[in-house]
Amino acid sequence: MPAPVALSLVDVRVRYGDRFAVDGVSLDVRRGEIVGLLGPNGSGKSTTLAVAAGVLDAAEGTVTVEGISRLVDPAGFAMRVGFVPQECALYDELTATDNLTFFGKLYGLAGADLRRRVLRVLGRVRLADHAEQRVSTFSGGMKQRLNLAVALIHDPGLLLLDEPTAALDPASRDALFADLTRLRDDGHAVLLSTHHLDEAELGCDRVAVLDRGKLVACGSPNELLRCRSTDRQVLYGHLRVRPPKFLQKALQKRFGTRIEFEITGRRLRLSAPTNEDLGMALATILAEGIELETYRTPAGTLERTMRDSGSVAATHGGADQP
């Protein structure tokens, strides 16, 4: 028997002026699964999450969380959703405990129950030792973990995360995905947005691909890959330091059209027709003194799916890194 549906979007449309930012999206997210919303900038990911979080009203369609519509029971709807906005949604001037206590009180928690929950979520995101530290002293990864903890304080069934890895280094990103995996295993439903193909592929149970507000594909990464086999080898890396522009241009010129070489912030994407080409390109990059913190070569890739939907150019062309 399938797990109960935590979030149900049915034919949701959101209008920004004359255009639809979300155009007829229908999507179910069940308890015990992580669903990735994948798409380039402007594809409607954040808008879809905002509608699911109840901070934006859909012009058409229905949104229910565990069967409850915000229009019918706004408080009940809000109690079932934990929302992690893209920006760090914390008060830097307050301590981790103060932040959790404040947001917990907004959800009606108080007294011993609230104190117990604060300790529990701090432990869950491995911040118990920093409970009384001001958030302004936290690293980016710690802030993101606290950001997640705040969304968990009222123990919602559905977690919504808007680009949670945007400002994280690879280690913090892996730690965050480990946290999300544990939450999924505890029965939470997780819907997160990203425009990094490797994250969606490696960290999500299902992937929903959005393009210009429309849902163009949805399924497990393997299902999507079976539908469309890839013809290129891809490598994703995280650079220690972003190389200067002239060096990027020089490498692009040297690789020509055979090898796709793209750097966005400190993220690297290499794509080549064969593994040999990919290896040679990587060796060239390393020879130029560009250091990689981490890299991965997915067994398969959603590249083709994105390419087919017309999203891939915009994804890699977008300024998606701080």
């Binding site: 905002a50 934006l56 012009a59 706004p74 949604a89 001037e93 959800y107 108080a110």
Partner: protein, 395 residues
């Protein structure tokens, strides 16, 4: 489910904690109005009628060497109303531009002819020259009055001294002066510190309101605002919490500023204490409402800050928060009636140095409250409309 009152208190408590999180900035909120009020109070401080009369500093230039002139000069130099020193014309001309002092009286050659003056006689009259700094027109009139009194007394003595003898009392002014300050209160005694502490407190309440509004604007551009909107919190509670926290900190400002004024400069509530409390509460409400208004119509933070500073300084100046209104032109005083600052200032002045009762300041309380309610209503309507548009994607 948490009651709306609890939610409001939770939001207000958060703002209170955020205010104290930066201790130095918080302390400046209290120190700056105290420093400015003290400075304004010192600048405009004048002795009370009970204190020793102020002497007008002048220089006396004696160009005639006749005995009558010498007597007049001696009277000027020993007058209890003047702090006079003998000087030469060139010394006086060098001292006046430096305002040390601002007045010089010249008894010119030919002044001695005045000894032969007859009440009905025509002919040439000697000229007494009064040199003065361009800004010292009031002092010039003061000096002219004292010189006239001394010359007329000396003339009377020279004309009629043979008849009544040398008794000084015989030449005293034939009337006495009884100067009484009249105001609506029974114990009015102008105190420049009372005025400056009322004025600067009100001005900085408005500045605090503005700062609170700017903080709200900043908060609405941060992720915490999205998170708050996603929580089961009605917008009304958010606005009520913001109003409550702003007003509570404003009340603390009033308490600290007036407390300092009381202990250091003797600023007292000589009129109705209830009236003072009501005015303070109304002014704090006005500060909170101003803050929400800034957040509602300010647009961007930079724009809101520039416009708010201009408006607050303008209504502070016209409303008599810097200078007592009796020093302002009549049209400014008339215009000020349309400003909340003027009503608040008159009310606070009334209960502090004018000694007015509760009934006398109730109209001021009502007007300040009415302004606060109108500001609050505009802000709430605007913010609710913004929230509706935001929810519908009309950003």
């Amino acid at each position: 489910m948490t009651s709306h009152a609890n939610l409001t208190l939770t939001l207000a408590a958060k703002d209170w904690r955020l205010f104290w999180a930066d201790r130095r900035a918080a302390l400046l909120c209290f120190i700056v109005p105290i420093v400015l009020a003290s400075a304004f109070g010192m600048i405009f401080n004048r002795p009370t009628p009970d204190a020793t009369a102020t002497k007008l500093p002048i220089l006396v230039v004696i160009e005639d060497d006749g005995p009558f002139t010498a007597q007049v000069a001696a009277d000027l130099l020993t007058s209890p109303k003047l702090d006079a020193k003998a000087s030469t014309q060139s010394e006086a001309e060098a001292a006046l531009p430096k305002r040390r002092p601002t007045i010089a009286v010249v008894l010119p050659k030919g002044f001695e002819k005045l000894r032969d003056w007859q009440p009905s006689g025509g002919g040439d009259r000697p000229t007494v020259r009064i040199l003065h700094h361009p800004t010292a027109s009031m002092e010039r009139q003061w000096a002219e009055g004292v010189v006239t009194e001394i010359v007329m007394r000396r003339l009377a003595r020279s004309k009629f001294g043979g008849f009544v003898g040398a008794d000084e009392a015989a030449f005293a002014t034939p009337f006495q002066v009884d100067a009484t300050a009249v105001s609506a209160g029974t114990s009015a005694k102008f105190n420049s510190y009372s005025h400056s502490f009322c004025g600067m407190t009100l001005q900085y309440l408005l500045f605090w309101g503005m700062e609170s509004g700017l903080l709200f604007l900043r908060e609405r551009q941060r992720g915490v605002w999205k998170r708050t909107r996603a929580a089961p919190v009605p917008l009304g509670c958010v606005l009520a919490g913001k109003t409550l926290s702003t007003a509570a900190i404003a009340l603390l400002q009033v308490f600290v500023t007036f407390g300092f004024g009381y202990f250091v400069f003797g600023v007292q509530v000589t009129g109705s204490f209830t009236g003072f409390v009501l005015l303070a509460l109304a002014a704090c409400g006005l500060a909170a409402a101003t803050g929400l208004l800034v957040a509602a119509i300010g647009g961007t933070e930079a724009r809101a800050r520039s416009v708010s500073i201009l408006v607050i300084l303008g209504i502070s100046m016209i409303g008599g928060l810097w200078l007592p209104t009796f020093l302002l032109p009549e049209w400014v005083r008339d215009t000020a009636l349309s400003l909340p600052t003027s009503w608040a200032m008159r009310g606070l002045g009334g209960v502090t140095w004018e000694g007015l009762g509760l009934r006398a300041v109730l109209p001021n309380v009502a007007m300040v409250t009415a302004f606060a309610v109108v500001f609050l209503a505009i802000a709430v309507l605007r913010l609710k409309s913004d929230e509706r548009r935001l929810r519908q994607g009309n950003v």
